[in-house]
C-alpha cells in the first residue's frame, strides 16, 4: 500500500459569461475593462454555491468508488455561505459518507486548498479534500473579469495512488495583498505591481526551492508547474526565478473558466493529472499570506483512473450566457423586481430537515425487501399496489441513478429566480420516480425521454433569516450519454 492521490475530480458550472459582455456594459466607466474582454468565465446558477459545487466535484472524483473507506473530509473555501454551520457536514450528508468521519472547513486564505491537501497527506485517514469557490466581485471590478466559479476534489489515502507526494514546503507571513471582512463582502486589493514584486516574487521561489531540495528534484525536471495567479506573467516570472522551464507552466484556465480562488490550485492539479503521464512531476503552489508548495510524481496507475468528467469534461459541458443581466441577478449585484409571488415565506423547520435528512440531503429512497419495488421517498407501506407490505422499504440510494423525463413543463407563473421554472416527473431506469425541479436546462429544449442526472442544489434561500436549504434537482446528463 502506498499513500497518495487515489482519485480526483472537478466541477465547473454550466453557464459561461463572455467577458466582452462585462466590458460592453461597464466600458463607459472603466475603459481598461475592454483590454480584458477576451474569453469567458464560469458562473454559478442561482441555485449553486460552494457547498453544491463541492458535492458535485466530490461525486466526480468518487465516481465508481466505495465511499465507506473515507475517514475524513476537508472542505476549503473562502466563500462559505454560513459563519456557523459545518459546510463539510452538509457535503458529507449529500455524499452519504459514514457519520463517524472527521470533517473540517478550511478557510480565510487563497491557499486554503493546498493547506487542506497538505494536512490530508499528513493524516492517517483516507481523506476527501474538496475546494470550492463562488467568487464575489463588485460590478466592473477587475476581479469580476478574472474570477470564475468552480470546485475540485482529491481523494488522498493508502492504496494504488495515481500520484505520490515527493515533498512539501510552506511559508506563512501576513502579506495582505487583498482582504475581505465581515464588514465588506468584496475584496479590497492593493497595487498589482507591489503584489507581484513583494508578494509572489519574494515569497514563492524560496518555498519552491526548499520543496524541490527536499525531494532532490532539479527545477528543470518539473513537468507541470501549477500556480494560479491572475496577474500577467507572474507564473512565468516565478518559474524563471525558480529555474523551472517556461513550458512546464500550466494553463491557468483563464480563457474558459476564470480563477476559482481557493479552489484554483486543486483545479489546476486535477486538470494537469487528466493529461499527465507516469513519471511526470507536478509542482503545486498555493499563494496567500505565504505559500504552500507540493511536489507530486505521477504513477502508472494514472492509466487506470476512473472515467469521470473532470475539468476537461466540465469545460466541454457549457452554455454561453450572453446576458450580463442574468449574471448580475444570480450574483445579487442588482435589485430585481421579483414580484409578489417571490414573497412566500421560505422558513425551514430545522427539526423536519433533520428528521428527513435521508430524503432531503442524501436523496435516499426505499427498496422493498419483499417485492423489490423502488420508491422515493421511502414510506412505511410499499407503493406497489400488488404488494403494499408494511415496513419492507429499506434505504436505497437514488442520487447516482440515471433517469429520464416522463413529463415536464416550463412554468412562467410560479416564482423562480431563473424563469421559467422547469420541473417534471423523472423516471429512474432502475425503478422509482420523482416529481422534481430541473436545473441547468433550456425551457424550450425539454422533451420526454431526455436522459437526466440528479444534482445537489439550493432549493430555496430564506432571505428573511439568512438560511438556505438544499435538495436534489434533475439536470441534463453531462458528457457522453
Amino acid at each position: 500500500m502506498t499513500k497518495g492521490i487515489l482519485a480526483f475530480g472537478a466541477y465547473i458550472p454550466w453557464r459561461r459569461l463572455p467577458r466582452k459582455a462585462i466590458a460592453e456594459t461597464h466600458g463607459w466607466f472603466n475603459p481598461a475593462l475592454k483590454g480584458q474582454a477576451k474569453g469567458e468565465r464560469a458562473f454559478c446558477n442561482w441555485d449553486e454555491d460552494p457547498v453544491t459545487m463541492a458535492v458535485e466535484a466530490a461525486r466526480d472524483a468518487l465516481a465508481g468508488r466505495d465511499r465507506g473507506t473515507i475517514g475524513a473530509l476537508r472542505f476549503a473555501s473562502t466563500t462559505f455561505p454560513f459563519l456557523d454551520r459545518l459546510h463539510s457536514g452538509i457535503v458529507a450528508g449529500a455524499l452519504s459518507l459514514p457519520e463517524d468521519i472527521s470533517a473540517i472547513d478550511v478557510t480565510a486564505t487563497q491557499r486554503a486548498g493546498t493547506s487542506a491537501l497538505i494536512e490530508a497527506l499528513s493524516s492517517g485517514s483516507e481523506t476527501l479534500v474538496v475546494a470550492s469557490e463562488k467568487r464575489g466581485a463588485k460590478a466592473a471590478s477587475p476581479v469580476e473579469m478574472t474570477s470564475g466559479d468552480g470546485a475540485a476534489a482529491v481523494l488522498v489515502g493508502e492504496g494504488k495512488p495515481v500520484a505520490t507526494l515527493l515533498a512539501k514546503a510552506s511559508r506563512t507571513a501576513d502579506f495582505v495583498d487583498h482582504f475581505r471582512s465581515l464588514d465588506n463582502q468584496f475584496d479590497y486589493q492593493w497595487e498589482e505591481r507591489w503584489i507581484r514584486d513583494a508578494g509572489y516574487m519574494t515569497a514563492v521561489p524560496p518555498v519552491i526551492k526548499r520543496c524541490l531540495e527536499a525531494a532532490k528534484v532539479a527545477p528543470k525536471d518539473v513537468t507541470h508547474f501549477c500556480m494560479p495567479a491572475t496577474l500577467a506573467r507572474v507564473a512565468n516570472s516565478v518559474a524563471k526565478a525558480a529555474g523551472i522551464d517556461d513550458k512546464a507552466i500550466c494553463d491557468p484556465l483563464h480563457a474558459n473558466c476564470g480563477d476559482t480562488g481557493a479552489a484554483h490550485t486543486l483545479m489546476l492539479l486535477v486538470a494537469t493529472l487528466e493529461k499527465s503521464k507516469p513519471g511526470d512531476k507536478i509542482l503545486l503552489v498555493g499563494f496567500g499570506q505565504g505559500a504552500d508548495a507540493l511536489l507530486f510524481e505521477v504513477t502508472s496507475e494514472i492509466a487506470r483512473r476512473a472515467k469521470n468528467l473532470g475539468v476537461a469534461g466540465h469545460l466541454a459541458h457549457r452554455k454561453e450566457e450572453p446576458s450580463y443581466g442574468r449574471f448580475l441577478a444570480f450574483n445579487d449585484l442588482i435589485e430585481l423586481e421579483r414580484g409578489m409571488r417571490s414573497e412566500t415565506d421560505k422558513a425551514t423547520a430545522l427539526s423536519s430537515l433533520w428528521r428527513n435528512r435521508e430524503t432531503v440531503t442524501s436523496f435516499i429512497g426505499g427498496k422493498c425487501s419483499k417485492c423489490g419495488t423502488l420508491q422515493m421517498p421511502r414510506t412505511d407501506i410499499c407503493v406497489n399496489p400488488n404488494c403494499n407490505a408494511l415496513h419492507t422499504q429499506e434505504p436505497y440510494p437514488f442520487a447516482d441513478m440515471a433517469g429520464r423525463i416522463k413529463s415536464y413543463t416550463a412554468d412562467r407563473l410560479t416564482y423562480s429566480p431563473d424563469p421559467p421554472s422547469c420541473y417534471g416527473m423523472i423516471e429512474f431506469e432502475e425503478g422509482g420516480r420523482v416529481m422534481i425541479d430541473f436545473t441547468d436546462i433550456d425551457g424550450d429544449a425539454l422533451k420526454v425521454g431526455q436522459p437526466m442526472q440528479m444534482m445537489f442544489r439550493i432549493k430555496d434561500i430564506d432571505t428573511a433569516r439568512g438560511f438556505r436549504r438544499y435538495y436534489w434537482k434533475a439536470a441534463p446528463k453531462a458528457g457522453k450519454a
Partner: protein
C-alpha cells in the same frame, strides 16, 4: 356490494352567486347571495334545515378555519355544520356530506354550500402558499398550470401527437367554453374568443397559454337536498335526484410507481366507472345528456373526456374537433362556460356544476338551455395535481329515470 345512493335523495333547491372579481363583496355576502336563491327555490325556512356542510379550499385567504363562517353568515340555528376541504373537489364533498346525511335518515333536509373569496391576494392566479415543512423542502414550487401542463407532454409522447395538433384541440375547447359562457349572465368571463386568440396568447406554463387556463374567481353555490318524501310534501314535482356520488383519491401510486404514464387521471377512470355502475349507466357516450367537468385547464378537459370513458383512449382530439362536446353536439361539455368562463371559486365549483345540471333539467337555463331534454347529467370535480389528486363525480337526473 353497496346498493348506492341512486334516487334516495333529491335536490329541492339550488342557488349560485354571480362569479367573478367581486371586489365589493366579502365571502359571507357571497354565501348569502347563493343561499337566498336556494332557500327561495326550495320554498322552506332556514329552521327546516337539519344539518349543513361548508366547502372552502383556501380558507386562510378569506373566512379562516371551521364551519362557523357558514353558520354565522346564514344564522343557522345551532345545527350541526361541518367544513370540508378536499382540494378543488371540496364543493362536491360538501354535497356528498349533505346527501349522505339525508340518505342515512339522520337528516330530512340538509344544505351544502361552497364559497371561495380568492381575489384578495394582490396578484393573478391562485395564491402562493406553504405546503408543509417537508413538501416545501422537496416539491417543485409548482403552479397549478405547471402541474397540469405536464399532461400535455405525457399525452403527446404516449399517443405520438404533434404539439400543434394537441394545442389545436385545446384551443377548440377554450373557444367553445367562451362561446357558452357568453350566454351565461352569472359567468365570470363572457367574451367570445377565436382559435387565434388562444394560440397567440402569452405562455403561462408550456404548453398552456393564458386562454388555456380557467379564471380565478370569487363566488358561492348552494344546494338543499331532502328525501323524496319531504320533497313531495313540499309540493315538488319533476324532481331531480342523485344517481351516483363517487370519490377516488390518489394513494401515491401515480407519484411514486412507474405503472402510471402521466397522460391521464387514474382517479377519474376509477371514480367514473364506479359512478356509472351506481347510476345504472352502461353506455355513457350514449346515455349522458350533459357533462360538466373540471376544466381548470384546456388539457385537463381533453384528457378527462377519455378518463370518463366517453371518448376512446387517444380519441378525444377527434371528438373535440368534431364538435361532439359543443353546446349543439351530442354530449355538451361545459354548457354554462365551465371553470374556464363561469369561473372557479374553488369551494363552490362542484356545486356550481350541479346547479347547472339542475337548471338544465328543469328547463330554466335561459339563453343557454339545451333543446333536447336532459335525462342524466354528470359532474366531474377534480382537485390537486395529475400525480396526486382527488376526483369527485356526481350523476344527477330525473327522479326514477
Amino acid at each position: 356490494m353497496a346498493k348506492g345512493i341512486k334516487d334516495k335523495v333529491v335536490i329541492i333547491g339550488m342557488g349560485c352567486s354571480k362569479f367573478g372579481e367581486r371586489w365589493d363583496k366579502e365571502a359571507d355576502n357571497l354565501m348569502v347571495e347563493a343561499y337566498t336563491e336556494a332557500i327561495a327555490d326550495a320554498g322552506i325556512d332556514t329552521k327546516q334545515i337539519d344539518a349543513a356542510w361548508l366547502a372552502t379550499a383556501i380558507e386562510e385567504q378569506h373566512v379562516g378555519k371551521s364551519a362557523t363562517p357558514l353558520a354565522v353568515a346564514l344564522r343557522l340555528p345551532f345545527i350541526p355544520v361541518t367544513r370540508v376541504e378536499n382540494y378543488c373537489a371540496s364543493g362536491t364533498e360538501a354535497f356528498r356530506g349533505a346527501v349522505y346525511a339525508v340518505a342515512s335518515g339522520a337528516a330530512d333536509v340538509a344544505l351544502a354550500l361552497g364559497v371561495e373569496k380568492l381575489k384578495d391576494t394582490g396578484y393573478g392566479g391562485l395564491p402562493q402558499r406553504g405546503r408543509g415543512p417537508l413538501n416545501d423542502m422537496t416539491n417543485p414550487n409548482a403552479s397549478a398550470p405547471g402541474s397540469f401542463a405536464q399532461l400535455a407532454a405525457a399525452y403527446r409522447a404516449k399517443h405520438k401527437i404533434e404539439a400543434k395538433d394537441l394545442k389545436g384541440a385545446m384551443a377548440h375547447i377554450s373557444v367553445k367554453s367562451h362561446d357558452n359562457g357568453s350566454r351565461n349572465p352569472k359567468a365570470h368571463l363572457r367574451n367570445k374568443i377565436t382559435v387565434d386568440t388562444v394560440l397567440n396568447a402569452p405562455t403561462v406554463a408550456e404548453p398552456l397559454g393564458l386562454f388555456d387556463c380557467c379564471g380565478v374567481s370569487d363566488g358561492a353555490a348552494c344546494a338543499i337536498v331532502a328525501t323524496p318524501e319531504v320533497a313531495r310534501s313540499l309540493g315538488k314535482k319533476d324532481m331531480i335526484s342523485i344517481k351516483a356520488l363517487q370519490v377516488a383519491v390518489s394513494n401515491g401510486l401515480e407519484a411514486q410507481h412507474n405503472s402510471w404514464d402521466g397522460s391521464y387521471f387514474a382517479t377519474t377512470r376509477i371514480a367514473s366507472k364506479r359512478a356509472y355502475a351506481e347510476a345504472g349507466i352502461d353506455k355513457p357516450r350514449d346515455q349522458l345528456s350533459l357533462i360538466e367537468v373540471h376544466d381548470c385547464f384546456s388539457v385537463t378537459e381533453l384528457v378527462t373526456m377519455e378518463d370518463l370513458h366517453i371518448s376512446p383512449e387517444g380519441g378525444a382530439i377527434k371528438d373535440v374537433l368534431d364538435g361532439f362536446y359543443d353546446s349543439d353536439g351530442k354530449v355538451p361539455c361545459q354548457i354554462d362556460g365551465g371553470l374556464k368562463c363561469f369561473g372557479h371559486p374553488i369551494g363552490a365549483s362542484g356545486l356550481r356544476m350541479i346547479y347547472e345540471m339542475y337548471l338544465q333539467m328543469q328547463g330554466r337555463a335561459g339563453e343557454r338551455q339545451r333543446k333536447q331534454e336532459p335525462v342524466f347529467g354528470l359532474t366531474h370535480n377534480l382537485g390537486g395535481f395529475p400525480q396526486r389528486n382527488v376526483c369527485a363525480i356526481s350523476i344527477v337526473g330525473k327522479y326514477g329515470a
